[in-house]
Structure formats: structure tokens, C-alpha cells
Symmetry: C2
Subunit: 409 residues, 2 copies
Amino acid sequence: MLVVQKYGGTSVRDVERIQNVARRAIEYKGRGMDVIVVVSAMSGETDKLLGLAHEIAKFPDEREVDVLISTGEQVTSALLAITLKEMGHKAKSLLADQIRIISDSSFGTARIASIEDAKILNELNEGNIIIVPGFQGVDGEGNITTLGRGGSDTTAVALAAALKADLCEIYTDVDGVYTTDPNICEKARRLDKISYEEMLEMASLGAKVLQIRSVELAQKFNVPILVKSSLIEGNGTLVCKEDIMMEKVVISGITYNKNEAKITINKVPDKPGIASKIFSALSGANIVVDMIVQNVSHENYNDITFTVVKADGKKAFKITEEIGSAIGAKVAMDEDMAKVSIVGLGMRSHSGVASKMFTVLANEGINIELISTSEIKISCVIESKYGELAVRALHKNFGLDAEDIKEES
Amino acid sequence: MLVVQKYGGTSVRDVERIQNVARRAIEYKGRGMDVIVVVSAMSGETDKLLGLAHEIAKFPDEREVDVLISTGEQVTSALLAITLKEMGHKAKSLLADQIRIISDSSFGTARIASIEDAKILNELNEGNIIIVPGFQGVDGEGNITTLGRGGSDTTAVALAAALKADLCEIYTDVDGVYTTDPNICEKARRLDKISYEEMLEMASLGAKVLQIRSVELAQKFNVPILVKSSLIEGNGTLVCKEDIMMEKVVISGITYNKNEAKITINKVPDKPGIASKIFSALSGANIVVDMIVQNVSHENYNDITFTVVKADGKKAFKITEEIGSAIGAKVAMDEDMAKVSIVGLGMRSHSGVASKMFTVLANEGINIELISTSEIKISCVIESKYGELAVRALHKNFGLDAEDIKEES
């Protein structure tokens, strides 16, 4: 049995925590498993290195930034290998170029193209616990690349996929995936299981437990991911293929994004190319658009509404207004919006989920400004000040509160 | 014309100093030269990393220590490349595995076996200033190795040799090689030139400007080394092949080692194998013996005297006494000794240098306890308290004092 374990920055932030990581790897090994450990940089290190780069340049050279920040994970890898050997176990750190984690050449946001399994299987067969620095790759020409923030998750899942590992464990500073943010709703509950699809919707909406790309990769290669805390004992949350058990639950979680700005363009002539023009201009200005909703309002006219993060609001408004005025449309913005979403595989086979959501919000006197739905998600944009209230009401009414549900054994 | 420049830790200790290094590289490039810059870790970084390793283990795994500490030079390399690009110049960092600086597998003390020149020449031809992290290599199996303390000097000289560079500049925190330690003798004078042989004798005796191995390598491949300060302007000291100019000077420098312990074994039976027995035992205890002098004292008996660093004195005395008592010899130790040496190619063709040295010391009332000579060096062991006085007297009498000598133009 082969397990890949990944530890985030807070789980390796000092020697004591690195020793805890080593003890857990040894324990697994003692149970007869082969173990690969993927580590992040010690917490704060990547920011410290980036700070130096930005002391020098506003836009430091991307190739060299990757040479710089990849050292963070390399340091942790070496320290963990030293710890394991000091504890009397065979161990070896293997860097991206040593196991050939080949990526494209998009410095800072590289994507893994392939992983050679020969070297690492060899070392495992010799009884070594293998330590791999997360977050880094090497391109076809031998340049160091990094996979972007949170890339260590992707390294772990990619290794698990390439080596056909039985399980990929992601150790972090929370003890699993929750039905919603426990800071907003004290009755938030840890999920025992969640499907890849639901996790993707949860992650992209703000439950920042796993990097989205790592979940996509896990889904593609059917790698089960167990999210656990490195600090406290617990069962964690298993992210895996949808199974029958899951079908019982209609809604898995509720996510919440504050700080959204909503921009509406009224009376857009119903001609091809107008929407394209607006969103091309926004994209050209590096503004990420979140929701887009279009309604036919009057004959030959559309209303288009979209949301962006509040920080981009004024810039987006200006761009949209320039284009809007040229075609005689009226542009308005509201900067104090929040988005509340319910996510769940169950809604595919249960009717009435959307109407229930709207009723719950209405009962709290919350007006819905915008609605957007996908197969397993319904999102409502509401006034920011009602955000937390909406989360708690939905959490309770969809039966997610801690006391309402018996934990699966 | 190709120049290799090497900068030590204090010369790259912060962003400001890295910017100075970049400016100098650009200046050379502007004069039409190809430039390779070899950098050390920012001062303190290597010790910080080693500190972490020693927090974990008394004897941390050597392979992994090299993975750990090689990151220090990698960080500086990336920062310098970022700085050069920010200043508008083409630049690229190339790590040991990228240019194939192949070493043996002696982790922590590896020796360079070969350097491939194709990649680096290619990058130079494209107009890049090349930055190479000093101190590191990669063995035949792709493991990271380091070359030992001061190994960045060796990296620079090895690159200069492999690429047939015209000059190898070593930038450090002193402005050249001095006739003796300026802290002891205020009339110490910077040398404009010194031969490889003299530099080797000076370096091993305590003038710690260049790593010995880098000088040996430079001598082997006839690479001229210019030692300069990165902080103040000056001509520095050229370390090169002996030339006619040098013959004019009899003595190039005076070196001085405090903290020596002298151990004497009297009445050693003149039989083969006794000396071997003593020095094997000392070597087995990891004690480095410095000078060894043997005299015939009485018929069939020898006196053997040797010196070790003071810290090893008591241990060496104990080992020697055990062996001595078994053969009826008497062992004595004096822990407060100093060694003063004069170094110079000129003494090969000038008679009377030794007798002059002894006379100078005698005139100061300094008793010589031990004498040892090589082709270009004479060393005397004296009481520690007379050390500084001896250095100043010899410096003056061999005509090395600053006002006595006209600088070569």
C-alpha cells in the first residue's frame, strides 16, 4: 500500500512540528505502508523570499523568482529527511529535477506534464521514506518552475496519480471540510465525505482547504484525498468519487463570499457582440468576473449584470460605463454585495431545492438581487450586511446544523 | 574577453550590496567583456540553515545537509539575476545541475570532477550575464553536493579554468593580500602580486583570504586570480604564476599562528616504527599535527617534537605519554607557543635568509624553540607572548614596512 502525505506550511513551521511529521510517516511505514511525504515551505518563508524580490523589482523576472522561491520547499525537504534519518529510518529527499516532475514553462503558474515513476519506485523499494518538495517542477530545458500558490497539493495528487497510490492525505491546519465557515456559523459541521464535484464548487467559492487544480487532478485520476489536521487527531474529510452514501444528503455545504461588487448594464441592444466587447475589455484590464447573468428585459434590449471583487469594482465600472455610454446603455454599480451559495450533488435528483433556498432567505427578510445556478450549486447575491444571517439560516434549514445530523460511524 | 567574478557572503548580504554587484557586472559587460558571476550565500544564511540541522541532529545526514545549505547560494543567485534584469540587462542564473558542475559524492567536501562548457558558452553568446551559485555541485547520480567552506572560490576558479577565462576576480571584505596581519603590524602592506606557491604557504598559515583548494586549482590551470574588495576601490592583489618581477623581492609575507601547543618526546629509541606509532594514534583521535621536527640527541636515541592547536594539546599529550611511557621515553608539553613564518620565493636564490631571521629574533631577546623549513618558507616556534613582537621585527627587518617599499606602478 502506498500513501502520499502532504503537509502545509504551518504543519512544518519549526523543528518540533517537522519531528511530528516524521513520527507520523514512521508510524505509517511501521504499519507496512510505503510513504511519500510532500512538504511546503516553512510558514512565512515564501513571503520572506518574495519580499526580497519585490525590494528589488516591482515585477521581478518570473524565471528567477521560481529559482528563488523553490528553495523554501527544498529547505523543509532536507530538514525532514535529516529528522527521519536521525530517528533511525531510511529516508531521501528527491527534488523535482531528480524525479523528473516535468512541467510546462509557465513560470509561477506551471502545470505538471508528466512524472517519471522509475526513480521514486526504486527508492521506495529500497525501504526509503521519500520526501518531495511541493510546488515545484522542472521544464523541458531544465529550468526550475513553480506551480502557483497552493501548488504543493497538486504535487501530492500528481505523485499519487502517477504512482497509483492508494490514498493521498493532505495535512493542514483545519481538521477537514466543513458544511460552512465555522467563523460565521457555530453549528458548522465537518463532513466525513464529499465528492470531487462538490469540493470543486466549495473550493472555488471560498472554502480554501484544497487548491482547485489538485481536486481537478484527483478527479481525473480518481485519487482519493483525505483532508486532515496535522495538529489534532480526527478522521478528516475524504474527497472522493460520488458514491451511494452521498446521495442521501441533498446539500453538502454553504459557502459565502463577501466583498463583491455588482455592476448592471440596463438596456443593452440585443445585438451579437456587445457582451463580448464588455467582457473582453474587462479581461484585458486583468479583472476577473465572477457571476454573469443576462435577462431579456424589454423588446430588443437586454439587462446584463455581473459581479467582480470589490477591489476591482471602480475600475470595472469605469470600463463598462465607457462601453455602455457608446451604445446608449445605463450602467450602475452596488459595491456592498455578498454571494451565498448552496452546494450539493443531491440537488440533481431533488426538486424544490432552489425554491426552498429562496423561501428561507425571504423568511429572513433578505432580498435576492441576483441568482445563478449550475447543476450542483445555487448562488444568490444579496446585500453584504445580510451575509452571515443568510448562511446561518440556510445551514439550519437545510439540516446541516451539528445537532441535527448523526455522524456516520 | 571573459571574466569570472566571485562575491563572498558579506558582499551580497543585502539588496543594496547585491545592487552594487550588479552594477559592477554591467560595467564590465559595457566594456565589452563576457561576465560570469559566482555568488556565496548572504552572510549568516549558511550558519542559520546549519543551525536548524543541528537542532535536529548532532550529526545530520550529510547528503541532506547539502540539499539544505545549497539553497543559500541559490537564493543569492536568483536575487542577483532579478536585479540585473531589473536594471535592463540580459541575465540568467544557472545552477550546478543545469551547467553540469559534476563532482564526486563526498557530501560536504566534494571535489569538482568536470564542468560542461556548452550550455554556459551558449548563454554567454546570447548576451547573458551568467550567475552561478558557488559552493555547489552535482554528483554522477544527480545528488546535490557542496564543496566545503569557502568552496565558492573553487567554483569560480574551476569555471574560469573550464571556460579559459582571462581573469578570475575574487571580491571579498579585504582589499588584497597583505605582507602580514595588519591587526598585529600596522605597517603591513598590500602586495600587488604574489605567486601561487607563496599564496599557498600564506593561506595555510592563517592569511585566510582564499580557499587553499582554489589556489591549487588556479595554479594547475594557470588561472590568474585578482583578489579585491567589493566595498572600496583599489588594485587588489594578483595571484599568478611566478614572474621575473617577483624575484626581486626575497620575502613576500610574514604569517603568524597563536595558540599552538608543543609536545616533546625525549629519548625515543632509534628504531623504525616509533614515530609511525605516535602519529597514527594522534591521527586516529582526529588530532591534526602541524610541525614535526626530529633530532638525533644521543647515541641510539632521538628527540621528537611536534605542535598541535592548543585546544588539542591535553588530548595529544595524554596519547603521546601512554605510548612514550611504554618505550621509556619522557614526554613534555608547552601550551603557550606561537609559530612565526616568513614566506618568499626569493629565499630559493638568496642565501642567508634563515640566519637573518634567527638574528632578528635573537636581537629582540626571543628564544627559538623549534625550527622547520621548506623551499619557500621558514617557521620558528617561539613563546606565545613574543608573537606580535616577532612579526613586527621581522616585517621591518625584511624591508616589508609600508614606508620602505615603493609600490610597483
